[in-house]
Amino acid sequence: MSAPTSGGASRDGYGKGLLRIAEDPRVVVLEADLGKSTKSCHFRDEYPDRTVSLGIAEQNMMLVAAGMASSGKIPFASTFAIFTERAFEQVRNGIARPGLPVHICGSHGGIHTGTDGSSAQSIEDLAVYRTIPKMTVIHPCDDISAEELTAQLLDLNGPSYMRTARNKVPRMYEDGSNLRIGSGSVLREGGDLAIISCGVMVGVAISAAETLSNEGISCTVVDMHTIKPIDVELIAELSESCGAFVTAEDHSVIGGLGGALAEWLSTNTSTPLEMVGVRDSFGQSGGSSELMDLMGLNEAGICEAARRAISRK
């Protein structure tokens, strides 16, 4: 099996989002030789004077972005998710610590990236950036939501990291949908279990909810596109109304969306939680769907987790 060919890839949404906010002269775009992949290339085509190519030098790119932010610009710096991690200390000390509004986009995140193999499949980026004070961490599920959330970053007065995905997935949103940074989007409502998902797993969660409904299990499905700050009001509400959770993410179960939920639930409730995600292992080359199946990041994995969670109620 291969990745869906219809729908939209969140990296395309990032590219469109940049164009939507390009009229603001403070917006500048920084690239590290991957503009064609991250889709910042469309901004470059239209606004070459506000696009800075830094070559294959991510550490420099992050601090150039910080310097520009300190001078009144709103920089958007992108490369592959895994290569942003090379500049972790630069992001931590040079961007987040002074609280500069630099918006980092890491594309090609997750196992879903596929054939490039494990070196390219960042499975820890959300966890890494979530640990840094002041950082907002976002992982949209399709191109439409990625475009909207990218545009909203313009008004976020602080640093952010957004992970986008390489491959197209079925769209979860229509143009003009109402979604906000920091607020989880409820895509389906049900009373037995809440599936909290992000990125390419949102569509899988919707499919799983459909399968579970045939078994008489009624699920709420949330697109938790903002991993930090996580929408604790919504989690608290769903803890009351559903009483069981499954998280689904194309990311390690350590420290990402599942980790964020576990931290909050374990200190505030006794609501059961099961996590679907990468179980502390690296990927390999292969087709996206093959790999997702191999790692248990699929509909069956979510359904099994849902049954376990409900049995623990």
């Binding site: 150039v64 310097g67 520009m68 610590r97």
Partner: protein, 275 residues
């Protein structure tokens, strides 16, 4: 000077002396800090702040000020001493160095201290930050110049050379670097730890215009910052040959005073020598 203003070298030398007194006093009070690299870089900073740097002491946040990026952020006592001598910080501020809640953090921090343009602490990052400031100034058609103070040990960080490459490629004519070439790093002399060789030649190979100077000769320093300030052909680097711990005999060329504060007796001797 290029603007016709007469510079009193003696006055600058006296300011540098007062800065040195501040440096040894604040590190002594904190019982920690980095006096060696502060004392080696202070003359360059006085020459710059005392002549051509566009900086308004009554409005340190002025948008169109020149920027001074202290990339070797552990030499924070040098930065604080300058700001003290210029009236931005007071005596209590600098004597609170490294204590809880102090505006004088261990490493320079733009969020804590008025007049500080960069939050440092991790070496190798300041030149990239300065380049970002320089590119923004050019986008805004501003005449402001960006000065970056690097340590020579710091140039062992690969990111410095990423930035050096990018600065010339992007024609950052408003970017200036001063390298504090004191030849000592944290553990030992650079030629024991990791000698980098001819730093000026390395900047030249990336397309920079470079001059070397005696980093403790105020008259030469005034001339070289004036020259660098008026150059507009590309990024400029000044390699300032300095002595770590300069001005305090027992700290001079002594690697152990990279990151060690003077004790009571050492402070007494230092202040005597600087009187």
């Amino acid at each position: 000077m290029g603007d016709g203003t007469e510079v009193d070298v003696g006055e600058l030398e006296e300011m540098a002396r007062r800065c040195r007194v501040d440096i040894v006093k604040m590190t002594h009070a904190a019982k920690s800090g980095h006096p060696g690299g502060s004392l080696s870089s202070i003359d360059c900073m006085v020459a710059l702040y005392g002549t051509c740097l566009r900086f308004d002491t009554s409005n340190p946040d002025w948008d169109d000020r020149d920027r001074f990026i202290m990339s070797k952020g552990h030499a924070s006592p040098a930065m604080y001493s300058i700001l003290h001598q210029m009236g931005v910080l007071d005596e209590d501020d600098i004597m609170g160095f490294r204590t809880l809640g102090s505006v004088c953090q261990g490493h320079v921090d733009m969020n804590w201290t008025k007049g500080v343009d960069f939050s440092a602490g991790s070496l190798g990052m300041g030149l990239s930050f300065g380049l970002g400031c320089a590119l923004s100034a050019k986008m805004d058609s501003s005449q402001r110049r960006i000065w970056v103070m690097l340590g020579d040990g710091e140039t062992q960080e690969g990111q410095i050379w990423e930035a050096a490459m990018a600065a010339n490629y992007h024609n950052a004519t408003n970017l200036r670097v001063i390298v504090d070439r004191n030849r000592i790093q944290n553990d030992d002399f650079m030629d024991v730890q990791m000698e980098i060789g001819d730093i000026g030649e390395k900047f030249r190979s990336f397309g920079w215009t470079v001059k070397e100077v005696d980093g403790h000769d105020m008259s030469s320093l005034v001339d070289v910052v004036d020259w660098a300030n008026s150059e507009d052909g590309g990024p400029v680097a000044i390699v300032a040959n300095t002595i770590k711990g300069n001005g305090v005999s027992f700290m001079e060329n002594n690697p152990s005073f990279h990151g060690k504060a003077p004790n009571d007796e050492e402070l007494r001797i230092a202040l005597e020598e600087l009187s």
